[in-house]
C-alpha cells in the first residue's frame, strides 16, 4: 500500500512525530511505500537542523534527515514554515520547502493519508 503521511505537531512536545516515524519504519519493513511526508502546523519544526540534543535522547530532526537520505520524500509547507522561522538556511538535508499543493498531491496519489496530530 502507498501511504502519505501528514505531521501536524512539533517534535518532543508531542508524540505525533515519533508515532509517524515509527509508523513509517514499520510500513517500509512490511514492504509498503511512503509517497511522502508532509510537515504542517508546528510539524514544520521537526525539520530544523538547529536542534541540539543530549546524547541520551533521540535527535528527531536528524532522524528525519536520515530517512530522507533513504529516499523518503520530506516536504515542509512554506507558509507554515515562514511563520515559525524555518527557512532554507536552517532546513535539514534531504527535506524541501514547498507549497500546500504538495499535500494535495499526496492526498490524490496515496492509497491512504495517515495523519499524526492532536
Amino acid at each position: 500500500m502507498k501511504f502519505g503521511i501528514l505531521i501536524q505537531e512539533g517534535p518532543y512536545n508531542h508524540q505525533a512525530s515519533d508515532s509517524a516515524y515509527n509508523f513509517i519504519l514499520a510500513s517500509l519493513a512490511k514492504g509498503h511505500e511512503i509517497s511522502g511526508v508532509f510537515f504542517y502546523n508546528d510539524g514544520v519544526i521537526n525539520t530544523t537542523k538547529l536542534m541540539d540534543i543530549p546524547a541520551d535522547d533521540r535527535n528527531i530532526s536528524k532522524r528525519w534527515s536520515d530517512l530522507g537520505a533513504k529516499g523518503v520524500q520530506l516536504i515542509v509547507c512554506v507558509a507554515a514554515a515562514k511563520r515559525r522561522g524555518i527557512s532554507q538556511n536552517v532546513l535539514i538535508e534531504n527535506a524541501r520547502i514547498d507549497g500546500l499543493g504538495q499535500l494535495s498531491e499526496l492526498c490524490i496519489e496515496s492509497d491512504r493519508l495517515v495523519t499524526f496530530g492532536d
Binding site: C77, V78, A79, G101
Partner: protein
C-alpha cells in the same frame, strides 16, 4: 528597495516591495507601487485593483487566480474574464503584481 517616497511621505515596503502597513495605501501610493512594477495604470488596471481591494475587504484574503478571473468576468464583462486578459494588464502575474499595487499582503506562495 525598502521604502517609497510618495508626496513627501515615506512608505515602508517589505523585501519583495509589498506594503508593510496596509493602511498606508491610497491612490497615489498605488501609482508609485505600479511604477515599481513598470505598470502604467489605465482604467482597466484600476478595475482589477479596486476589485481586489473590495474582495479583500469582504473576505480578508486575495482571491486565487481562477476565482479572480471568474469574478472579473462577472463584474466587468465576459471578454475580461480570462487569465490572458489579466496577464496582459499585469505581465508579471496578476496575483502578485495587482495585489502589490492594491496594497494587499503578499500572497503566501502556497500553490
Amino acid at each position: 528597495m525598502s521604502s517609497l517616497d510618495v508626496s513627501g511621505k515615506t512608505i515602508e515596503l517589505d523585501e519583495d516591495g509589498f506594503l508593510k502597513n496596509m493602511d498606508d495605501w491610497d491612490k497615489e501610493v498605488a501609482l508609485a507601487l505600479a511604477k515599481t512594477e513598470n505598470v502604467d495604470m489605465t482604467e482597466a488596471h484600476w478595475e482589477v485593483v479596486n476589485f481586489l481591494r473590495d474582495y479583500y475587504q469582504e473576505y480578508k484574503i486575495a482571491p486565487m487566480i481562477r476565482i479572480l478571473t471568474k469574478a472579473i468576468g462577472k463584474a466587468f464583462g465576459k471578454e475580461k474574464g480570462n487569465t490572458k486578459y489579466l496577464y496582459e494588464l499585469y505581465p508579471a502575474g496578476p496575483a502578485k503584481q495587482a495585489c502589490k499595487i492594491a496594497g494587499l499582503p503578499k500572497p503566501t506562495g502556497c500553490v
